[in-house]
């Protein structure tokens, strides 16, 4: 009985680790990287937003593309 419980515990820990790893990989693949967002201002200047702003752009763009099918 003790052995079975021990194995279940190990199995649960392994499943948890796999789940955490999968979430991490999914979130990192959706993260905005350099060059994903390029903005040209009306005065002709080119701007690359900060990573937080770029992430905001990409998150909304993904929703637009998802809705647009």
């Amino acid at each position: 009985m003790k052995r079975i419980l021990g194995r279940l515990l190990v199995l649960g820990a392994a499943a948890g680790a796999v789940y955490a790893l999968r979430n991490y990989l999914e979130s990192s693949s959706a993260r905005a990287s350099r060059g994903d967002v390029q903005l040209t201002l009306d005065n002709g200047a080119s701007v690359e937003p900060s990573s937080a702003e770029a992430q905001e752009f990409v998150d909304i763009a993904r929703k637009v593309l998802e809705i647009a099918g």
Binding site: Q38, D42, E53, K63
Partner: protein, 144 residues
């Protein structure tokens, strides 16, 4: 409501259709008013227009905010790349916005070129479809 293809009425929809015909890589195209309302759009059947417009308006809003933070009064164009494709924005007069979506492997520079060419005619055409100036016959041919 329209089942698909173009929505809204008048010259704007014709111009958007011309843009799509010219740039085969454009999957959807739309013109948003300064208030974020959808003036016209070419959307596939079943697309939730309200959500689509709201998200595009949010993008245009962030682009304007970022432009102001960086010393501009607005944005001329914005390109956003995601895994699912690109969203391209071109600023029109009066804080209106021309938006387009493309597939991930689209030639974005070419699409933006066509959007820039369509800008003048779109600016001359109001949301109710009445041309506000010269005759409108579409963005015309691509000049290479």
């Amino acid at each position: 409501m329209a089942e698909g293809g173009t929505t809204s009425t008048g010259g704007l929809e014709g111009l958007l259709e011309n843009l799509r015909a010219l740039s085969g890589e454009v999957t959807t195209a739309a013109v948003l008013s300064a208030g974020g309302d959808l003036e016209a759009a070419t959307l596939p059947p079943g697309v939730d227009r309200e959500r689509y417009a709201a998200m595009l308006a949010a993008l245009a809003g962030i682009a304007r905010r970022t432009a102001r933070e960086n010393g501009g009064s607005g944005f001329a164009e914005a390109r956003i790349r995601a895994e699912e494709g690109h969203v391209l924005l071109v600023g029109l007069e009066g804080d209106r916005t021309l938006a387009a979506t493309t597939e991930p492997d689209a030639r974005v520079g070419l699409v933006l070129y066509d959007m820039r060419n369509a800008r003048k005619e779109l600016e001359q055409t109001s949301g109710n479809g009445a041309p506000a100036g010269s005759e409108t016959g579409g963005p015309g041919e691509r000049k290479q």
